[in-house]
Symmetry: C2
Protein backbone atom coordinates (compact mmCIF):
# COMPACT_ATOMS: atom_id res chain seq x y z
CA UNK A 1 0.00 0.00 0.00
CA UNK A 2 1.39 3.38 -0.97
CA UNK A 3 1.61 6.36 1.33
CA UNK A 4 -1.17 7.97 -0.64
CA UNK A 5 -4.65 7.88 0.77
CA UNK A 6 -6.85 5.22 -0.73
CA UNK A 7 -8.57 5.92 -3.99
CA UNK A 8 -11.42 8.31 -3.39
CA UNK A 9 -14.81 6.65 -2.80
CA UNK A 10 -16.55 5.64 -5.95
CA UNK A 11 -18.94 8.49 -6.39
CA UNK A 12 -22.43 7.71 -7.52
CA UNK A 13 -24.45 9.89 -9.83
CA UNK A 14 -27.35 11.55 -8.01
CA UNK A 15 -29.81 9.33 -9.81
CA UNK A 16 -27.97 6.13 -8.92
CA UNK A 17 -27.82 7.30 -5.33
CA UNK A 18 -31.51 8.01 -5.26
CA UNK A 19 -32.37 4.60 -6.66
CA UNK A 20 -30.04 2.72 -4.35
CA UNK A 21 -31.34 4.47 -1.27
CA UNK A 22 -34.93 3.88 -2.26
CA UNK A 23 -34.29 0.24 -3.09
CA UNK A 24 -32.77 -0.15 0.36
CA UNK A 25 -35.86 1.31 2.00
CA UNK A 26 -38.18 -0.88 -0.03
CA UNK A 27 -36.05 -3.85 0.92
CA UNK A 28 -36.73 -3.30 4.59
CA UNK A 29 -40.46 -3.22 3.95
CA UNK A 30 -40.09 -6.50 2.12
CA UNK A 31 -38.29 -8.14 4.97
CA UNK A 32 -34.98 -7.75 3.21
CA UNK A 33 -32.02 -6.26 4.96
CA UNK A 34 -31.36 -2.69 3.89
CA UNK A 35 -27.71 -3.28 3.08
CA UNK A 36 -28.49 -6.42 1.12
CA UNK A 37 -30.96 -4.47 -0.98
CA UNK A 38 -28.52 -1.61 -1.49
CA UNK A 39 -25.77 -3.93 -2.60
CA UNK A 40 -28.16 -5.48 -5.04
CA UNK A 41 -29.25 -2.11 -6.38
CA UNK A 42 -25.65 -1.06 -6.86
CA UNK A 43 -24.76 -4.23 -8.74
CA UNK A 44 -27.92 -3.93 -10.79
CA UNK A 45 -26.89 -0.49 -11.98
CA UNK A 46 -23.23 -1.32 -12.49
CA UNK A 47 -22.12 -1.97 -16.09
CA UNK A 48 -19.20 -4.03 -14.75
CA UNK A 49 -18.89 -6.59 -12.00
CA UNK A 50 -17.61 -5.00 -8.77
CA UNK A 51 -15.25 -6.31 -6.10
CA UNK A 52 -16.49 -6.40 -2.51
CA UNK A 53 -14.22 -3.68 -1.17
CA UNK A 54 -15.36 -1.27 -3.83
CA UNK A 55 -18.96 -1.96 -2.88
CA UNK A 56 -18.16 -1.35 0.78
CA UNK A 57 -16.47 1.92 -0.11
CA UNK A 58 -19.24 3.14 -2.37
CA UNK A 59 -22.00 2.35 0.08
CA UNK A 60 -19.94 3.31 3.13
CA UNK A 61 -20.61 0.12 5.05
CA UNK A 62 -18.23 -2.35 6.65
CA UNK A 63 -16.44 -4.81 4.44
CA UNK A 64 -17.75 -7.70 6.51
CA UNK A 65 -21.26 -6.48 6.08
CA UNK A 66 -20.83 -6.53 2.32
CA UNK A 67 -19.45 -10.04 2.52
CA UNK A 68 -22.57 -11.23 4.35
CA UNK A 69 -24.88 -9.39 1.99
CA UNK A 70 -23.19 -10.83 -1.08
CA UNK A 71 -23.45 -14.28 0.40
CA UNK A 72 -27.18 -13.80 0.89
CA UNK A 73 -27.67 -12.45 -2.62
CA UNK A 74 -25.77 -15.43 -3.98
CA UNK A 75 -28.03 -17.67 -1.92
CA UNK A 76 -30.93 -16.18 -3.82
CA UNK A 77 -29.04 -16.71 -7.05
CA UNK A 78 -29.57 -13.17 -8.29
CA UNK A 79 -25.89 -12.33 -7.85
CA UNK A 80 -22.93 -14.40 -8.93
CA UNK A 81 -19.21 -14.20 -8.64
CA UNK A 82 -17.03 -13.63 -11.72
CA UNK A 83 -13.32 -13.10 -12.15
CA UNK A 84 -11.41 -10.39 -13.90
CA UNK A 85 -8.06 -11.05 -15.56
CA UNK A 86 -5.16 -9.67 -13.60
CA UNK A 87 -7.21 -9.16 -10.44
CA UNK A 88 -7.21 -11.70 -7.67
CA UNK A 89 -10.32 -10.32 -6.05
CA UNK A 90 -13.76 -11.82 -6.58
CA UNK A 91 -16.04 -9.60 -8.57
CA UNK A 92 -19.80 -9.72 -8.34
CA UNK A 93 -22.51 -9.06 -10.84
CA UNK A 94 -26.28 -9.03 -10.65
CA UNK A 95 -28.71 -10.58 -13.04
CA UNK A 96 -29.97 -7.74 -15.21
CA UNK A 97 -33.19 -9.22 -16.57
CA UNK A 98 -35.92 -7.82 -14.36
CA UNK A 99 -38.36 -10.61 -15.10
CA UNK A 100 -35.71 -13.13 -14.15
CA UNK A 101 -35.04 -11.32 -10.89
CA UNK A 102 -38.71 -11.16 -10.11
CA UNK A 103 -39.18 -14.81 -10.91
CA UNK A 104 -36.31 -15.99 -8.73
CA UNK A 105 -37.18 -13.81 -5.76
CA UNK A 106 -40.87 -14.74 -5.94
CA UNK A 107 -40.14 -18.42 -6.03
CA UNK A 108 -37.81 -18.17 -3.12
CA UNK A 109 -40.30 -16.20 -1.08
CA UNK A 110 -43.03 -18.65 -1.89
CA UNK A 111 -40.80 -21.50 -0.78
CA UNK A 112 -39.95 -19.78 2.48
CA UNK A 113 -43.26 -18.20 3.36
CA UNK A 114 -46.16 -19.88 1.65
CA UNK A 115 -45.10 -23.52 1.59
CA UNK A 116 -44.66 -23.75 5.37
CA UNK A 117 -48.12 -22.26 5.79
CA UNK A 118 -49.57 -24.83 3.42
CA UNK A 119 -47.97 -27.56 5.49
CA UNK A 120 -49.32 -26.20 8.76
CA UNK A 121 -52.78 -25.71 7.29
CA UNK A 122 -52.78 -29.23 6.01
CA UNK A 123 -51.74 -30.58 9.37
CA UNK A 124 -54.45 -28.54 11.07
CA UNK A 125 -57.11 -29.87 8.74
CA UNK A 126 -55.91 -33.43 9.24
CA UNK A 127 -55.90 -33.08 13.00
CA UNK A 128 -59.34 -31.59 13.07
CA UNK A 129 -60.67 -34.37 10.89
CA UNK A 130 -59.14 -37.02 13.13
CA UNK A 131 -60.54 -35.40 16.23
CA UNK A 132 -63.63 -33.31 15.49
CA UNK A 133 -64.66 -31.98 18.88
CA UNK A 134 -67.34 -29.53 17.91
CA UNK A 135 -65.03 -27.09 16.13
CA UNK A 136 -66.70 -27.51 12.78
CA UNK A 137 -66.47 -23.79 12.16
CA UNK A 138 -62.72 -23.83 12.56
CA UNK A 139 -62.56 -26.73 10.17
CA UNK A 140 -64.58 -24.87 7.59
CA UNK A 141 -62.39 -21.78 7.80
CA UNK A 142 -59.14 -23.69 7.62
CA UNK A 143 -60.33 -25.80 4.71
CA UNK A 144 -61.32 -22.67 2.83
CA UNK A 145 -57.94 -21.15 3.43
CA UNK A 146 -56.07 -24.27 2.43
CA UNK A 147 -58.01 -24.69 -0.79
CA UNK A 148 -57.57 -21.07 -1.72
CA UNK A 149 -53.85 -21.05 -1.08
CA UNK A 150 -53.36 -24.31 -2.93
CA UNK A 151 -55.17 -23.03 -5.99
CA UNK A 152 -53.46 -19.68 -5.87
CA UNK A 153 -49.97 -21.09 -5.63
CA UNK A 154 -50.77 -23.52 -8.43
CA UNK A 155 -51.67 -20.63 -10.69
CA UNK A 156 -48.62 -18.74 -9.53
CA UNK A 157 -46.36 -21.68 -10.36
CA UNK A 158 -47.70 -21.72 -13.88
CA UNK A 159 -47.21 -18.07 -14.53
CA UNK A 160 -43.81 -17.95 -12.92
CA UNK A 161 -42.54 -20.70 -15.18
CA UNK A 162 -43.32 -18.75 -18.31
CA UNK A 163 -40.23 -17.78 -20.28
CA UNK A 164 -39.55 -14.07 -20.43
CA UNK A 165 -40.59 -13.89 -24.06
CA UNK A 166 -44.04 -15.33 -23.39
CA UNK A 167 -44.49 -12.94 -20.52
CA UNK A 168 -43.85 -9.95 -22.72
CA UNK A 169 -46.67 -11.15 -24.92
CA UNK A 170 -49.04 -11.53 -22.01
CA UNK A 171 -48.20 -8.12 -20.67
CA UNK A 172 -49.12 -6.63 -24.03
CA UNK A 173 -52.59 -8.09 -23.62
CA UNK A 174 -53.37 -5.67 -20.85
CA UNK A 175 -57.06 -5.11 -20.56
CA UNK A 176 -57.87 -8.38 -22.23
CA UNK A 177 -56.49 -11.01 -19.92
CA UNK A 178 -59.39 -10.96 -17.54
CA UNK A 179 -61.91 -11.04 -20.35
CA UNK A 180 -60.20 -14.02 -21.91
CA UNK A 181 -59.90 -15.92 -18.69
CA UNK A 182 -63.45 -15.00 -17.79
CA UNK A 183 -64.86 -16.40 -21.02
CA UNK A 184 -62.99 -19.67 -20.84
CA UNK A 185 -63.76 -20.10 -17.20
CA UNK A 186 -67.40 -19.09 -17.34
Amino acid sequence: MSVHTRTSPNSLTPVAQKFILHWGEMGTRWGINRTVAQVHALLFLSPQPLPADEIAETLAVARSNVSTSLRELQGWRIVRVVHVLGDRRDHFESIKDVWEIFRIVSEERKRREIDPTLRVLDECVQEIKANPQGDSYTRERLTDMLEFLTAMTGLFEEVIRMPAAALKGVLKLRGKVVTMLGKKAG
Copy 2:
Protein backbone atom coordinates in the same frame (compact mmCIF):
# COMPACT_ATOMS: atom_id res chain seq x y z
CA MET B 1 -66.94 -5.96 39.30
CA SER B 2 -67.65 -8.91 41.58
CA VAL B 3 -65.22 -10.34 44.07
CA HIS B 4 -64.90 -13.37 41.87
CA THR B 5 -61.87 -13.70 39.65
CA ARG B 6 -62.48 -12.79 36.05
CA THR B 7 -63.97 -15.39 33.78
CA SER B 8 -61.32 -17.98 32.95
CA PRO B 9 -59.37 -17.29 29.76
CA ASN B 10 -61.14 -18.33 26.64
CA SER B 11 -59.47 -21.61 25.90
CA LEU B 12 -58.55 -22.37 22.32
CA THR B 13 -58.68 -25.81 20.76
CA PRO B 14 -55.19 -27.16 20.01
CA VAL B 15 -55.78 -26.70 16.30
CA ALA B 16 -56.90 -23.10 16.67
CA GLN B 17 -53.87 -22.46 18.83
CA LYS B 18 -51.55 -23.96 16.26
CA PHE B 19 -53.01 -21.91 13.45
CA ILE B 20 -52.96 -18.67 15.40
CA LEU B 21 -49.36 -19.14 16.46
CA HIS B 22 -48.28 -19.98 12.94
CA TRP B 23 -50.18 -17.07 11.45
CA GLY B 24 -48.40 -14.82 13.91
CA GLU B 25 -45.02 -16.13 12.82
CA MET B 26 -45.86 -15.74 9.14
CA GLY B 27 -47.03 -12.24 9.87
CA THR B 28 -43.61 -11.24 11.12
CA ARG B 29 -42.01 -12.54 7.94
CA TRP B 30 -44.45 -10.46 5.98
CA GLY B 31 -43.61 -7.32 7.86
CA ILE B 32 -46.78 -7.60 9.88
CA ASN B 33 -46.66 -7.31 13.62
CA ARG B 34 -47.01 -10.69 15.33
CA THR B 35 -49.84 -9.58 17.60
CA VAL B 36 -51.70 -8.00 14.72
CA ALA B 37 -51.53 -11.25 12.79
CA GLN B 38 -52.61 -13.28 15.81
CA VAL B 39 -55.60 -11.06 16.45
CA HIS B 40 -56.57 -11.47 12.84
CA ALA B 41 -56.18 -15.24 12.97
CA LEU B 42 -58.34 -15.41 16.09
CA LEU B 43 -61.09 -13.32 14.54
CA PHE B 44 -60.87 -15.30 11.33
CA LEU B 45 -61.55 -18.52 13.25
CA SER B 46 -64.18 -17.09 15.52
CA PRO B 47 -67.81 -17.85 14.61
CA GLN B 48 -68.91 -14.73 16.50
CA PRO B 49 -67.53 -11.22 16.70
CA LEU B 50 -65.32 -10.76 19.77
CA PRO B 51 -64.87 -7.81 22.12
CA ALA B 52 -61.36 -6.46 22.61
CA ASP B 53 -60.95 -7.56 26.20
CA GLU B 54 -61.82 -11.13 25.32
CA ILE B 55 -59.20 -11.08 22.57
CA ALA B 56 -56.61 -9.78 25.01
CA GLU B 57 -57.50 -12.52 27.46
CA THR B 58 -57.44 -15.31 24.91
CA LEU B 59 -54.14 -14.29 23.38
CA ALA B 60 -52.65 -13.23 26.71
CA VAL B 61 -51.49 -9.85 25.46
CA ALA B 62 -52.02 -6.38 26.85
CA ARG B 63 -55.36 -4.74 26.27
CA SER B 64 -53.71 -1.68 24.77
CA ASN B 65 -51.80 -3.86 22.39
CA VAL B 66 -55.07 -5.37 21.18
CA SER B 67 -56.52 -1.92 20.74
CA THR B 68 -53.63 -0.90 18.51
CA SER B 69 -53.77 -4.13 16.56
CA LEU B 70 -57.49 -3.83 15.94
CA ARG B 71 -57.02 -0.31 14.73
CA GLU B 72 -54.41 -1.47 12.25
CA LEU B 73 -56.59 -4.33 11.04
CA GLN B 74 -59.45 -1.90 10.58
CA GLY B 75 -57.09 0.33 8.64
CA TRP B 76 -56.61 -2.55 6.25
CA ARG B 77 -60.36 -3.03 6.14
CA ILE B 78 -60.19 -6.75 6.85
CA VAL B 79 -61.70 -6.31 10.29
CA ARG B 80 -64.72 -4.26 11.19
CA VAL B 81 -66.57 -3.32 14.30
CA VAL B 82 -70.06 -4.63 14.94
CA HIS B 83 -72.41 -4.28 17.88
CA VAL B 84 -74.19 -6.88 19.88
CA LEU B 85 -77.58 -6.20 21.41
CA GLY B 86 -77.39 -5.68 25.14
CA ASP B 87 -73.62 -5.20 25.13
CA ARG B 88 -72.11 -1.76 24.99
CA ARG B 89 -68.68 -3.02 24.05
CA ASP B 90 -67.48 -2.96 20.47
CA HIS B 91 -67.18 -6.37 18.92
CA PHE B 92 -64.88 -7.13 16.05
CA GLU B 93 -65.19 -9.55 13.21
CA SER B 94 -62.89 -10.48 10.34
CA ILE B 95 -63.82 -10.86 6.72
CA LYS B 96 -64.15 -14.59 6.17
CA ASP B 97 -63.81 -14.80 2.40
CA VAL B 98 -60.18 -15.70 1.77
CA TRP B 99 -60.12 -14.27 -1.74
CA GLU B 100 -61.49 -11.03 -0.39
CA ILE B 101 -58.83 -10.93 2.31
CA PHE B 102 -56.13 -11.64 -0.22
CA ARG B 103 -57.41 -9.00 -2.58
CA ILE B 104 -57.60 -6.29 0.04
CA VAL B 105 -54.22 -7.03 1.57
CA SER B 106 -52.54 -7.23 -1.83
CA GLU B 107 -53.97 -3.95 -2.96
CA GLU B 108 -52.92 -2.27 0.22
CA ARG B 109 -49.40 -3.65 -0.03
CA LYS B 110 -49.15 -2.59 -3.64
CA ARG B 111 -50.27 0.88 -2.69
CA ARG B 112 -47.72 1.11 0.10
CA GLU B 113 -44.78 -0.67 -1.46
CA ILE B 114 -44.94 -0.75 -5.24
CA ASP B 115 -46.53 2.57 -6.04
CA PRO B 116 -43.85 4.61 -4.25
CA THR B 117 -41.21 2.66 -6.15
CA LEU B 118 -42.93 3.42 -9.43
CA ARG B 119 -42.90 7.09 -8.54
CA VAL B 120 -39.22 7.08 -7.66
CA LEU B 121 -38.32 5.13 -10.77
CA ASP B 122 -40.23 7.56 -12.90
CA GLU B 123 -38.51 10.50 -11.27
CA CYS B 124 -35.14 8.85 -11.80
CA VAL B 125 -35.81 8.28 -15.48
CA GLN B 126 -37.02 11.85 -15.91
CA GLU B 127 -33.97 13.28 -14.19
CA ILE B 128 -31.59 11.17 -16.20
CA LYS B 129 -33.29 12.22 -19.41
CA ALA B 130 -33.07 15.87 -18.47
CA ASN B 131 -29.42 15.60 -17.55
CA PRO B 132 -27.73 12.69 -19.34
CA GLN B 133 -24.14 12.83 -18.13
CA GLY B 134 -22.78 9.63 -19.53
CA ASP B 135 -24.85 7.30 -17.39
CA SER B 136 -26.66 5.72 -20.29
CA TYR B 137 -26.31 2.31 -18.70
CA THR B 138 -28.13 3.45 -15.57
CA ARG B 139 -30.83 4.89 -17.76
CA GLU B 140 -31.25 1.62 -19.58
CA ARG B 141 -31.50 -0.39 -16.38
CA LEU B 142 -33.97 1.96 -14.73
CA THR B 143 -36.13 2.14 -17.83
CA ASP B 144 -36.26 -1.63 -17.98
CA MET B 145 -37.28 -1.83 -14.38
CA LEU B 146 -39.91 0.86 -14.74
CA GLU B 147 -41.48 -0.75 -17.78
CA PHE B 148 -41.53 -4.15 -16.18
CA LEU B 149 -43.10 -2.94 -12.96
CA THR B 150 -45.67 -0.87 -14.83
CA ALA B 151 -46.73 -3.82 -16.95
CA MET B 152 -46.74 -6.19 -14.01
CA THR B 153 -48.87 -4.00 -11.79
CA GLY B 154 -51.24 -3.41 -14.69
CA LEU B 155 -51.77 -7.13 -15.00
CA PHE B 156 -52.09 -7.44 -11.26
CA GLU B 157 -54.75 -4.74 -11.15
CA GLU B 158 -56.79 -6.63 -13.70
CA VAL B 159 -56.65 -9.93 -11.89
CA ILE B 160 -57.25 -8.43 -8.49
CA ARG B 161 -60.43 -6.78 -9.69
CA MET B 162 -61.98 -10.07 -10.70
CA PRO B 163 -65.00 -11.01 -8.62
CA ALA B 164 -64.58 -14.06 -6.44
CA ALA B 165 -66.81 -16.14 -8.69
CA ALA B 166 -64.72 -15.50 -11.79
CA LEU B 167 -61.61 -16.33 -9.88
CA LYS B 168 -62.92 -19.72 -8.92
CA GLY B 169 -63.37 -20.45 -12.60
CA VAL B 170 -59.86 -19.38 -13.44
CA LEU B 171 -58.40 -21.44 -10.66
CA LYS B 172 -60.15 -24.48 -12.10
CA LEU B 173 -58.25 -23.95 -15.33
CA ARG B 174 -55.01 -24.96 -13.67
CA GLY B 175 -52.57 -26.26 -16.19
CA LYS B 176 -54.24 -24.43 -19.05
CA VAL B 177 -53.84 -20.80 -18.22
CA VAL B 178 -50.33 -20.51 -19.52
CA THR B 179 -51.20 -22.36 -22.68
CA MET B 180 -54.14 -20.07 -23.33
CA LEU B 181 -52.24 -16.92 -22.66
CA GLY B 182 -49.31 -18.21 -24.66
CA LYS B 183 -51.47 -18.79 -27.73
CA LYS B 184 -53.20 -15.45 -27.67
CA ALA B 185 -49.99 -13.64 -26.97
CA GLY B 186 -47.82 -15.51 -29.46
